[in-house]
Symmetry: C2
Subunit: 327 residues, 2 copies
C-alpha cells in the first residue's frame, strides 16, 4: 500500500495525498475523499521513504553506558516519556561502559540520520572531545558538564556540601568513599562538595580520609573494611553513591558497630534499596527522570534551531536531601 495506490483509489494525484498528510493547499472536497480512503485502508506513509526524501528520520539516538543501573534506567525512562510526546522514536545504543563504543555510536548515529543524540555522559577523553566537535547533529549530554556541549547535569557539589554539613552536625571524623575521579561529576565534584563543607567547618581537607571505589556494593564493602581497620576514629562515612553506601553499611554492621550511633553514613541516589536497609539510608535524591525529560526538551529546542536554546544550553538540576535513619 503506497501513496500511489491511495492516490489512484481517491482519484487524485500523489501530491494531493502527500499534502493531505503534510499540509499544503488542498480543497475540502479532496481532503475528505482522501481521508476516507486512507482510513479504509489503514494507510500510513512509509517512514523510511519519508526519511530518505526529507533527511529527517524522526529518530533520537540515546547512548547509555548500562541499562541495569537504577540511575541510567530512570534517566532513560524520562527520555522515553518525553520523546514520545514530541512524536519521535528512540534508538538505543548501549556502550557497556566502553569508550570506543561511545564514539562508535555517536558516529554511527550521525551517519544513520538521527535528528538528535542524547549521550549519558561518563567521562571526557580527547578522542570523545574531537568526536563531539565533529558531530553535525544536535547532541546533549546528561549527568556531566562537558565544556562546549549542551548538557543537563546535577549540582553534585552543592548536594554533597549539604549532606556533609548535615553529617557534621553530629559527627567529627569523616571518611569519604568516592567514585573514580576520572568521572568529573560523580567523582571530582562530589568530593569537592565534601571538602568544601569540611573546610568551612574548620577541618583541613587534606586530613579527609578519602578512598575511591567502583560504584558497586562490593566495592563499598571492601573499602569500608579498610577504613575500619586503619582509621578507628572515623564516626561518619560519606559515600558518593547509594550502592557503595550499602556495601559500607554491611561492613560496619559486620564489625559490630551501630549505625548511626557509632558511625553515620550517607549515600547518593535515593535508590529503592535505601528504604529497606536498617537503618534506612540518608541520601540525596537526584532527579533522574527529570534529567531525562529536560535533556529531550533541550535537544528539541536545538533540533528546531531555536536561537535561545544555544544560549540556555546548560541546565543544572536541583536535588533534595532525604534524611533517614543512617545519620
Amino acid at each position: 500500500m503506497t501513496i500511489k495506490d491511495i492516490a489512484k483509489m481517491a482519484g487524485v494525484s500523489v501530491a494531493a495525498v502527500s499534502r493531505y498528510f503534510n499540509g499544503g493547499s488542498l480543497s475540502e472536497e479532496k481532503r475528505e475523499i482522501i481521508q476516507k480512503i486512507v482510513e479504509e485502508n489503514n494507510y500510513v506513509p512509509n517512514a523510511m521513504a519519508q526519511t530518505m526524501r526529507t533527511g529527517k528520520s524522526g529518530n533520537i539516538g540515546v547512548i547509555v553506558p548500562r541499562l541495569d543501573s537504577e540511575s541510567f534506567a530512570q534517566i532513560m525512562a524520562g527520555i522515553a516519556d518525553e520523546v514520545e510526546k514530541i512524536n519521535y522514536t528512540v534508538i538505543l545504543g548501549v556502550t557497556d561502559n566502553k569508550k570506543e563504543k561511545e564514539i562508535y555510536y555517536i558516529e554511527q548515529m550521525e551517519k544513520s540520520k538521527m535528528d538528535g543524540i542524547i549521550l549519558m555522559g561518563t567521562y571526557m577523553t580527547p578522542h570523545l572531545k574531537t568526536t563531539l566537535e565533529k558531530c553535525l547533529i544536535p547532541i546533549v549530554v546528561t549527568g556531566q558538564h562537558f565544556k562546549g556541549v549542551p548538557s543537563v547535569f546535577y549540582d553534585d557539589k552543592s548536594a554533597m556540601y549539604d549532606i556533609t554539613k548535615l553529617m557534621l552536625k553530629s559527627k567529627k571524623h569523616i571518611a569519604f568513599i568516592g567514585a573514580p575521579s576520572i568521572d568529573h561529576a560523580a567523582g571530582k565534584m562530589r568530593k569537592e562538595g565534601v571538602e568544601k563543607a569540611l573546610e568551612e567547618a574548620g577541618i583541613d581537607k587534606k586530613s579527609l580520609i578519602a578512598y575511591e571505589s567502583d560504584f558497586t556494593i562490593d566495592g563499598g564493602y571492601e573499602t569500608m573494611k579498610k577504613i575500619l581497620k586503619s582509621h578507628k576514629k572515623v564516626d561518619g562515612v560519606i559515600c558518593a553513591t547509594d550502592r557503595m553506601a550499602h556495601g559500607a553499611m554491611l561492613a560496619i554492621r559486620e564489625a559490630g558497630k551501630n549505625i548511626p550511633d557509632d558511625i553515620s553514613i550517607t549515600g547518593v541516589g535515593d535508590s529503592w534499596g535505601d528504604k529497606i536497609s536498617s537503618p534506612q539510608l540518608t541520601t540525596v535524591q537526584l532527579y533522574y527522570k527529570k534529567c531525562g525529560q529536560t535533556a529531550v526538551n533541550l535537544l528539541w529546542g536545538l533540533m528546531k534551531g531555536e536561537s535561545d536554546s544555544h544560549l540556555i544550553s546548560k541546565v543544572m538540576l536541583g536535588y533534595s536531601i532525604i534524611e533517614r535513619g543512617s545519620v
Copy 2:
C-alpha cells in the same frame, strides 16, 4: 557523500561500489581502489536509503512496560547485548504499562519496517491477541507464555514450588503475597507453584492465606500489616516479588517480630536490595539477562526463516534458589 561520489572518484560504476559493500562479483583490482576511496572519505552507506530499497531496516523493535524496573532493565540489557552482536539496532517503545500503547507500538513497528519485535509481556487481552495474530513480522514475547506466540519465559511454577518446599522445612503456617492474577506468569503460575508444594505437604491449598498486591514495596508493606493483624499464626511468608518481600519485611520488623525466627520470608528476583536488608533475603534468581539474549536469538532464527525455529519457538528458562538469612 553518496555512493555516486565514491563511484566517480574511484572511476567505477555505482553498482561496483554497492557490490563492494554487499558482496557480488568484483575484481580484486576494483575492490582495492574502492576500499581506498571509501576509507579516505570515511564513507558509510546511507542506512535509510538501504532500508528503502531492500525493505530490511536492520532494526529490532523492543516494547517494554517500564524501564525503571530491575527485571525489565536487565532483560533489556541482555537484548541490547545480543542485538549488537548480530549488527542490528534496537528501537525502543515504552508502554508505561498501558495496554493500548502496547498495541499501538506493535502496529507502528510493523509499519515502520522493523525486522522483528520483542515484546516484554505483561498479560494477554483479546485485542492484543488479534494484534499479535495480524502481525506479519516475527515477534517474540518474554516473561510470559502466550499461546501460539514464540516466547521465552521462566519456570515460575517450579521455582515457587521449590522455594515453598524450602520454607516448609522449618515453617508451617504459610501466607502468600502474590502479584495480580491477571499476570499469568508472575501472578497465576507463581501462586500455583506455592499451592502445589503445600498440597504435597498435606496442606489443603484452600487454607492458604493469599493476598494480591502490586509489585511495590509499599504494597508488600500494607499487605503484610493486614496479614499480621488477622493471621497471628503465620510463620512464613512467600512473596511473588522481591520488592513486595522487602515491604513485608519492613512491616514484620515494625511489628517487633524477628526474621527468620518468628517469621520467615522469601522473594523472587535476586535484586541487589536482597543483599543489603537484614537479614538478607532468600529468593529465586531468574536469569533476566539470559532471557533477553535468548529472545534475540530466537527472534533471529525466526527472522532468518529457519525452519526449526518455528518448532523450538518456546523456551523455558531455569532458575536458582538463593538461600540467605530470611528463612
